[in-house]
């Protein structure tokens, strides 16, 4: 934070203007239909000023704050995944009759974007998807192109909602990682933003904005914002080796217990900022002149996700929930060297029956401890 | 010269049997030979023996009108067939037919049952061997019943 500069609300607007002047599509939090979504914004006037989100398992409501904070909420149902790993992506189309098919690859997106107000958990989620889709032996070119074209303006969280557990996952509330510019919104005294650059592009952009150097007092105030948020987490992932816990409990009775509540609706996978599963469909032109392959987000909660001829491998809800949660918190490490969970809490908030991933872990952990205790007494 | 006792002892079914028991069992055994196509037993015949195949192959079949003879198992060298003599009603439940020139050892079940009745140690030893063959065949039958290769429709 040493290099921080202080921006006023007007200066922040100038930041958005300069990003737009670079030809970038500026996308950020917008209140719409009773939720905060990520959509196009033209100026800071589009931001949900003075609003906050009240969230709990299976519950989300927007509410008024008693100040004019621009970023005074945590996260809504959208994540940046939709702008990097598109929900629907045509991969190619073919031309010609059956015997003369020619395949034309779908051009890569050229659109330059700027994401405004990327949270710490979301930076972590982007880093996770970078590992899955954007790096390594096989790179998804559509993801890579969108990722390379995105300028990330992060913001430290000044408010946590009831779903948040980033502290226990080590991903927030402070924004860290691959951002271009990170902001801390300071409401104490003058409404201002401590801005720091995380890349050369961010540095260059900041340099041209109206600003003043951050004082020790600004930095103290900013630190306090983050520290206060950290103390108001909605919940926490239990301490302990969750990876090993789930790996050794594929037959735990808790899976049937959660299956009795789970509707298998796939909401958790859709709102999850790291879930990456996709399926492909074939689309045919009505006149038979060509076809296209379209990739869509898919969910391990659907019946045909694991279909092999004859039926699905995971036909019970219990097996599908186990797959999702064990993948997220355990086998993700085996596959990508990191947890698939960033502690954003969306799966908890947007679950229609309020299933809480941290609570499920706690239940399995507790039952193991009980068993240990019983054996210890014997 | 090959003695019957040695030949019997070389059959996997009797492998490792103590010499005294082997001698007792040999007293119930004799060499048999079947021409290709010859029936060895027929369904519902009295079951009074079992066979240890030495050369050739035997098909175990059930016949259904309109479908013909359906083979559910083939038995080759080193394998045995015939368990029905152990328990009532002592009837063969299939047809056994030599697929080619087949040499086997036939073991008289009545004779063996009698010896087992008199010497329970021999009886226990042999029943364990029969039970283990029964379990193997049960496992194979399960797998066959599941029809695992078929494409589901």
């Amino acid at each position: 934070m040493n290099d921080g500069v202080i921006l006023s609300c007007a200066d922040l607007n100038a930041l958005i203007e300069s990003l737009r002047a670079e030809g970038r599509r500026t996308i950020g939090p917008v209140a719409r239909d009773g939720v905060i979504v990520y959509d196009d914004l033209e100026s800071i006037d589009d931001l949900p000023a003075g609003m906050t989100d009240e969230a709990a398992p299976g519950h989300y409501r927007l509410a008024r704050r008693d100040d004019d904070a621009l970023f005074g909420y945590a996260v809504g149902p959208h994540s940046w995944k939709r702008f990097l790993h598109a929900p629907v992506q045509r991969l190619w189309r073919s031309e010609g009759e059956r015997a003369a098919a020619r395949v034309l690859a779908e051009p890569l997106s050229q659109e330059k974007t700027a994401f405004i107000a990327v949270r710490g958990c979301e930076l972590a989620a982007i880093a996770v998807q970078d590992r899955v889709l954007g790096e390594g032996e096989t790179v998804d070119r559509h993801y890579r192109a969108r990722r390379d074209n995105a300028f990330l303006v992060a913001v430290d969280c000044g408010t946590a909602n009831g779903g948040c557990f980033c502290v226990s996952m080590g991903t927030g509330p402070e924004a860290s990682g691959a951002y271009d510019i990170a902001l801390t919104e300071i409401l104490e005294g003058e409404h201002r933003f401590l801005a720091r650059a995380g890349s050369e592009a961010g540095q260059a952009l900041l340099r041209n904005l109206p600003q003043r150097a951050a004082t020790a007092e600004d930095i103290r105030a900013a630190r306090e914002v983050v520290a206060r948020t950290a103390q108001h987490m909605g919940r926490a992932m239990p301490v302990g080796n969750v990876r090993e816990l789930l790996a050794r409990n594929p037959d735990h009775p808790r899976w049937d217990d959660v299956a009795a509540r789970c509707l298998s609706c796939a909401n958790c996978t859709m709102v999850c900022p790291t879930c990456f599963c996709t399926s492909v469909d074939e689309a045919s032109a009505l006149d038979g002149s060509g076809t296209a392959r379209v990739r869509r987000w898919d969910s391990c909660f659907t019946m045909d996700f694991s279909y092999v001829h004859g039926g699905g491998v995971r036909s019970s809800v219990s097996a599908r929930y186990r797959q999702w949660m064990t993948h997220k918190l355990s086998s993700w490490f085996d596959q990508f060297g990191t947890s698939g969970c960033v502690g954003c809490g969306r799966c908890i908030v947007w679950c229609p029956v309020g299933i809480d991933i941290t609570e499920e872990v706690r239940a399995i952990q507790a039952s193991e401890r009980e068993t240990e205790a019983r054996h210890g007494n014997a | 010269m090959e003695t019957l006792e040695r030949i019997l002892g070389e059959q996997p079914f009797f492998a490792g049997l103590n010499p005294e028991f082997l001698r007792l069992a040999t007293g119930c055994a004799n060499n048999v030979r079947f021409a290709a196509g010859e029936f060895i037993c027929k369904e519902d015949d009295p079951a009074d023996r079992f066979y240890l195949v030495r050369h050739g192959h035997v098909a175990l079949q059930l016949f259904a009108p309109g479908r013909g003879a359906m083979t559910f198992q083939t038995v080759g060298p080193g394998e045995m067939f015939g368990m029905s003599w152990i328990a009532p009603p002592y009837k063969w439940t299939y047809d056994a037919r030599a697929l080619e020139l087949t040499r086997a050892l036939a073991v008289d079940g009545l004779c063996l049952r009698d010896k087992c009745d008199h010497d329970h140690d021999l009886g226990y030893e042999l029943m364990q061997r029969f039970l283990s063959r029964t379990i193997e065949s049960l496992h194979a039958t399960r797998l066959q019943l599941l029809d695992v290769y078929g494409a589901k429709v």
Binding site: C300, S306, A319, S331 | T74, H139, L143, K152
Partner: protein, 283 residues
Amino acid sequence: MAMSETASMGGVEDRTIPCVGRVSARRIESSDVVTLDVETPEGPVRYAPGQFNMLTAFGVGESAISISGDPASGRLTHTVRAVGPVSRALCNLRPGDAIGVRGPFGVGWPIGTAATRDLLFVAGGLGLAPLRPAIYAALAERSRYGKIAILYGARSPDSIIFRRELEGWRGRFDLHVEATVDHALDDWRGHVGVVTNLISQVEFDAEQATAFACGPEIMMRFVAQALVAREMRESDIHLSMERNMKCGYGQCGHCQFGPFFVCRDGPVFAYEAIRPLLALREI
């Protein structure tokens, strides 16, 4: 495999794009199984025995199909069973028809590390298809290996695939080939019974043998158990797994099998590595 002209943009290979091949020959193996030879514009094709391709029937969809030909031929051969819309469309392709090919994908049979050892190929049903390239590879360098046995189980005599080859291999003095069927009528002269029964009839040195098995998952579990009962090491037994595969390189998530992506980490796995998973239901 090189991709079509449009597939590599910006120098990065896009593995989502099929190249357009042509069916050059079609052979009917059984009532619902067809073998297709496929020519690709790039000419000779390199792949490892046990790998698979994603084949597209244009306008219908894509399916993961193992490569079933001779790797030395430089030609792609695929054997397909018509079980769903895509595989039916693939089976209905005729010589000259276009077919989309992505691949090859996955990890194949570790045939190269099995030199000097006895080889056991145990196949069930269509599982003989992904084993066939490995059998060809072993026969191409027959003297490098010890005893070689091919044990094949099928549902019935008329569902046996690669029949002519099996008969040819059976005629060789340096191969032990046995086929068994689950059900047969009187005109079948071969074995009847499950493929695990054949394992007791083959001679091999359990210490010095490598086994490759492919077939329905239940059958592979029993085969592996029968081989272990004959004192083979779990690390010397290799199985080819089947799961739903959409992308081929571990990014669509469908083929997950515990910590593994079957398409990328498999389809061939050492029994040792997956034995605990095989015991879990719905994993």
